[in-house]
């Protein structure tokens, strides 16, 4: 009783509430991963699951150290990242253009939407064999597939965002005799930013997923290739390292995107 009372008062007079809260949050978040790690280690130690199915965490760590040390991990990550960057840039660029055109001009939408929707219905993977025959299995294939994966959600969301620009705003801009370009830059774009960013978020996720998919299918380097190769050779520890790195890179890209979005939001608000 007294002890808890003392502890309580100690806690109360300790670090400020916000620190305690974030520390508490972090501590809680760690519990599950730690528990999983514990069970995993125990399982490997006492062989609850055969070792082909689950290598020990130490092996995974060792594998990571080996891969990182030899420079292979960096090389594969580089290759994959570069592909995503090029593909995403191409797809996003095209998507923003087409989405804006479709969103702002009902005429364009009339012409383009049915074909676009039809093509968008086919899952990205479905296009790969056809594309393989047209462009081979080189970098071009990968970039085109990644671009397509990003293109669809970005176009859809950009169009939606542009379409939803309040008529009132447009009218005000027109009354100020804004040029087409000014209208776009000062009115349409800022208003559509949140929706566009949803599209960009989806686009990036899809692009990354398409990258892994196309690398699984036909590649001689990259993180997806690392997974295939590990699977053939039954190197589960290396495979898990590959998966974790893929997750990590995905996390980083998402975080960067979040920062960019926050920046744009500030600019948007400031502009208005």
């Amino acid at each position: 009783m007294i002890a808890t009372g003392l502890l309580a008062s100690a806690v109360r007079s300790g670090p400020p509430a916000w620190l305690r809260r974030s520390f508490g949050r972090a501590a809680l978040a760690i519990v599950l991963p730690l528990a999983v790690l514990l069970v995993w280690t125990a399982s490997a130690r006492w062989g609850w699951l055969p070792q082909q199915i689950l290598p020990s965490p130490i092996e995974v760590w060792q594998s990571f150290v080996d891969l990182a040390g030899s420079g292979e991990l960096l090389h594969h990550t580089d290759v994959s990242l570069l592909r995503v960057v090029y593909g995403f840039a191409a797809g996003a660029g095209a998507g923003l253009l087409l989405g804006t055109a479709m969103g702002l001009s009902p005429t364009v939408e009339d012409y383009v939407k049915p074909l676009f929707t039809a093509l968008a219905q086919v899952p990205t993977l479905g296009w790969i064999p056809l594309l393989m025959l047209l462009v081979g299995i080189d970098e071009t294939l990968k970039i085109v597939i990644i671009a397509k994966a990003a293109f669809v959600p970005i176009t859809i969301n950009t169009a939606a965002g542009m379409r939803a620009v309040p008529r009132g705003l447009v009218e005000v801009a027109e009354s100020f005799r804004f040029s087409r370009f000014q209208l776009l830059r000062k009115v349409a774009f800022p208003a559509a930013v949140p929706q566009i960013f949803t599209g960009i978020r989806y686009g990036l996720t899809h692009a990354w997923m398409a990258l892994v998919g196309v690398e699984l299918l036909a590649s001689s380097e990259g993180l997806g290739y690392l997974l295939v190769w590990s699977r053939q050779m039954f190197w589960l520890d290396q495979m898990i390292v590959g998966m974790l790195v893929i997750g990590l890179v995905g996390l980083l890209m998402d975080a960067i995107l979040g920062l960019v979005e926050a920046r744009l939001q500030r600019w948007r608000v400031a502009g208005l």
Partner: protein, 364 residues
């Protein structure tokens, strides 16, 4: 009770119920199903193969005939586009009881702790072929440097290729290797997406259609470049059903014997052609080798030495990361029993570790 606690209990209960149902289901199954895997698949994914006595066993239904009088025993065959590596996945999940598999994937499986026994040889001494587009300038192995080459990773082709490359001063690192399976490689080659491909019958077939040419074959080259394969049995099954194992091995030996008879040549190749590979291609594949030589099931000292060497080489080439001990892996008792049963002790030639013919048949 908090929501979290309640949910966790429900989840645990569901999982336990599922596990219990699984156990009951396993307990209840009495009729035995013998699941045999084959580390390849026919053209167009037909469930047949060629070039080995195991393929004969399948197409000629040798195993099914062995158990005709036993209605409680079922035989199921599984074919794998993913070849040896895919068989390992199935073994790891105990989804197969026996499998025909190449040397390298078997070693990889053992290196990863799979509990199997080598019961007999099948598809021994297979050569490897290198195919290039017709207009290609690649003439020798050395020309492959820096080029995009398809090698099916994890299969016995890979190890043979590594040996061939090494003999010419190259390694996989000197090439841009893409791992493609037996149907993707010819397609890529025909489309000129790759500069070259290593493989066997599928490439011969491609060359015969004029879309590629064979630039190299290990036929006639160093016999050490040949690939081996065998029938393996998973310990879980062979130890639980030694009687069934004996009969399965006997059926395979019968198939091997039938495949080794020169008089059966035409019938044999027709049977193998069910896999979609034309007879002409098979003739090229077997050129210069006798049927008896290629279809021998013997686990002789040469084969043991081969697998032992392979284990070291696989380690050296980086294909396995820990040393593999092949002691106790070969299990000749079923083969010996079958040979004695069928009076075939002197039907095939046994080779000693140095490659010389031996008097006696099987392994001590």
């Amino acid at each position: 009770m908090s929501l979290l606690l309640r949910s966790s209990l429900v989840l645990a209960g569901t999982l336990l119920a599922l596990a219990g149902a699984g156990v009951l289901k396993a307990r209840a199954a009495e009729p035995v199903t013998i699941r045999i895997g084959y580390a390849a698949i026919g053209v167009g994914n037909v469930p047949y193969a060629n070039g080995t006595s195991a393929a004969t066993a399948r197409a000629g239904q040798f195993v099914e005939k062995e158990f005709l009088d036993d209605p409680s025993v079922k035989v199921e065959w599984y074919f794998f586009k993913g070849a040896g590596p895919a068989v390992n996945e199935a073994f790891a999940n105990s989804q197969l009881d026996f499998a025909y598999q190449g040397d390298l994937p078997s070693i990889i499986g053992r290196a990863n702790g799979l509990k199997t026994r080598i019961l007999l040889a099948s598809g021994a001494h297979k050569p490897v072929f290198l195919a290039v587009p017709v207009s290609s300038d690649i003439k020798t192995i050395e020309d492959l440097k820096g080029r995009k080459v398809a090698i099916f990773r994890g299969t016995n082709t890979q190890l043979a290729v590594d040996k061939v490359l090494a003999a010419h001063g190259l390694s996989e690192q000197d090439l841009k290797v893409i791992s493609l399976d037996d149907s993707a490689a010819p397609a890529a080659l025909a489309a000129k997406d790759i500069d070259a491909a290593f493989g066997d019958t599928e490439l011969i077939a491609l060359a015969q259609t004029g879309l590629a040419r064979i630039a190299y074959t290990s036929q006639g080259d160093n016999p050490a470049f040949g690939r081996y394969a065998s029938l393996l049995g998973l310990d879980g099954f062979t130890q639980a059903h030694p009687d069934l194992t004996r009969r399965v091995v006997k059926a395979f030996v019968k198939a091997a014997q039938w495949s080794s008879e020169d008089q059966n040549h035409a019938a044999l190749f027709d049977l193998w052609a069910r896999s979609g590979t034309p007879v002409d291609v098979l003739e090229v594949f077997f050129h210069g080798d006798s049927l008896n030589y290629r279809n021998s099931p013997l686990l002789d000292p040469l084969m043991v030495r081969h697998y032992s060497d392979l284990a070291h080489q696989a380690r050296a080439f980086g294909q396995i990361r820990r040393d593999v001990d092949i002691d106790g892996w070969f299990e000749p008792e079923y083969l010996d029993a079958a040979l004695k049963d069928l009076s075939l002790e002197h039907y095939w030639r046994s080779y000693d570790a140095a490659g010389r013919q031996q008097a006696a048949a099987a392994l001590p």
